[in-house]
Amino acid sequence: MKLLTANFVQCSVKACSATPKCFPLHFDQQTADVPLELAHEDVDFSPEFIYNILPRIDWPALLITARELGNNMLPETTPEIENPNAPENEQILRDLHTLLLETQIIQGSMRCENCNHIYFIRDSIPNFLLPGHLVQ
């Protein structure tokens, strides 16, 4: 699962989706069975794609996710970019590209702060199915 995806998935429990605590899901507590494993996977760089989705990114949530995964280097607010092809913007767009598209969460777990349900990621694929007691 890419970091970008962590920025748009929330707890799938219906009762949680009405609360702000359902997003982002948290990587702060991992289990011994499925320890957190990250990897870098190359993806062709498209400055336009990053530029296009930047307004869709929830920046405060991205800061939380990055911090929980050990990256404290992000700027505090969404970078302002007017021209994705201007040379002065290349570095920041490349950094975002690496963070959002090339950082893979191979396995681990994500926790909902509202209901504490844990979603596992295995072989890079998160599972959002719910146990019987969490489905109304």
């Binding site: 699962m1 748009f8 998935v9 694929i125 959002f128 199915l129 719910l130 146990p131 019987g132 489905v135």
Partner: protein, 444 residues
């Protein structure tokens, strides 16, 4: 403005116009396609210039090629007259470039020497450039069409149309073969025909810098098709086995096979009725073939037994473990209505699509029952096309909706018409099987 002839494939005719309309939107071309005739492989369009003509069909699956129209008639003699009349001012421009002639026949054929005679009959064009079979500067094409052989096999076929044109550009029809399911490493019983998956993604305006989502992704047929056109593809499915595939054959290895790895966003396992995508995250398009429960009946998360989880407590196993934390845990599921799922889909699309983003959704229709009322509607979505694929005993449709431009935020979007809706008891599944044999329902 010059007139062009688009040569169309004689298949999936009801999708051709919708595809070209979508490509015109993508390329920002204003074009009148009203003369499109599903029975004819020819379509005349008026466009600004060659460049527009090229761009209009360069991504098309159902067009074959586009030509600058130099002449059209119903006999060879009349064709020459029309070429002289319509195009003599063009002759001079092509006096020196290298060129060759091409010949295409619909429902007919001519021997090589007959073709040569035909090419020679155009010597009044005065082309003095060298004839090059490979990479000529220009290709001039004669296209003829014969009437269908209704009468008897002995009657000589009758010429109905003949055209002369300058070749402008080709479509992408050849990729249909590249994505053919027979050559794809990971497929399943639900994999979607490659040609129609590509067409669906064209109609959805899949393209670079966009995110395309399939919430019923299965083996990922629409994902690779969307990625082929340069979109980042996202998929999910309630069935983890399909999403994960096998070790050496799965959606990721299909991406490797087509060298599209950089256009894969993600897949996840999830029930559409408990979708984890946040409301504020906008998608550019949704393309899908929803489950219509033909074989197994449609299931969503939940339990038929409402008592069982009434205390909202997890199930504890004898050894004290929580059952849902075991890797082999299978969440309970309950039956659901196809109509209700379609409504959920439209609601999700209204909420999560960008303004003018598209939902392309396949839907089976029992023929004798098809009517306006069976097409789902949503006040925020405009239905722009409805294309049919006919099979012997049933048909399915590709419905395309455009998310209307928002006037405010999405608050209060969940439409009230939803609450009181009663879903019909006769589901498509019953119709579908009753068409085959009286006992077929017992198979379900």
């Amino acid at each position: 403005m010059p007139e062009y002839l688009v040569l169309l494939a004689q298949t999936h005719e009801s999708f051709r116009k919708a595809e070209l309309e979508a490509l015109a939107v993508l390329e920002n071309i204003s074009v009148d396609l009203s003369s499109h005739d599903e029975k004819s492989p020819f379509l005349y369009v008026t466009l600004q210039d060659d460049d527009e003509a090229k761009r209009l069909i360069q991504r098309s699956i159902l067009a074959r090629a586009v030509y600058e129209l130099w002449g059209k008639a119903d006999s060879e003699n009349a064709l020459h007259e029309d070429v002289r009349h319509r195009s003599s001012s063009r002759f001079e421009k092509y006096k020196t470039p290298s060129f060759k002639f091409d010949f295409i026949s619909h429902r007919g054929s001519r021997t090589k020497s007959q073709q040569r005679d035909m090419f020679e009959s155009f010597d009044y064009l005065g082309f003095d450039g060298p004839i090059k079979m490979r990479d000529p500067d220009e290709i001039f094409t004669i296209i003829e069409e014969y009437e269908p052989a209704y009468h008897s096999n002995t009657d000589p076929p009758r010429l109905s149309h003949i055209f002369f044109g300058r070749f402008i550009g080709e479509s992408q029809r050849d990729v249909v073969d590249k994505y053919d399911l027979k050559k794809r490493r990971y497929i399943g019983t639900t994999s979607f025909d490659a040609e129609l998956a590509l067409i669906s993604c064209n109609i959805a305006l899949a393209g670079p810098q966009k995110i395309v989502y399939d919430p019923f992704a299965g083996t990922g047929s629409f994902l690779v098709a969307a990625s082929h056109f340069g979109a980042m593809a996202l998929g999910s499915d309630i069935d983890g086995r399909q999403i994960r595939g096998k070790k050496a054959r799965n959606i990721t290895t299909n991406y490797d096979q087509y060298k599209l790895q950089s256009f894969f966003l993600d897949t996840f396992v999830g029930d559409f009725t408990h979708n984890p995508i946040r409301a504020s995250f906008k998608l550019d398009a949704i393309v899908c073939d929803p489950p219509y429960g033909v074989r197994e009946g449609l299931k969503v998360l939940g339990s038929r037994d409402t008592e069982r989880y009434a205390d909202k407590k997890p199930t504890v196993l004898e050894n004290g473990d929580l059952s849902h934390l075991r890797p082999d845990y299978i969440p309970p599921k309950k039956p659901y209505h196809f109509d209700a799922l379609l409504d959920d889909l439209l609601e999700f699309a209204a909420r999560n699509l960008v303004d003018e983003g598209r939902l392309c959704c396949w839907m089976p229709t029992a023929n004798e029952d098809y009517g306006e009322r069976t097409i789902p509607k949503h006040p925020e979505l405009e239905l722009i096309s409805n294309c049919v694929q006919e099979f012997n005993r049933w048909s399915r449709r590709l419905l395309t909706y455009v998310r209307k431009v928002r006037e405010g935020d999405d608050a209060g979007l969940v439409s009230s018409h939803r609450e009181k809706k009663v879903y019909s008891q006769v589901q498509f599944r019953d119709k579908y099987f009753s068409g085959f044999s009286a006992t077929a329902n017992s198979v379900v």
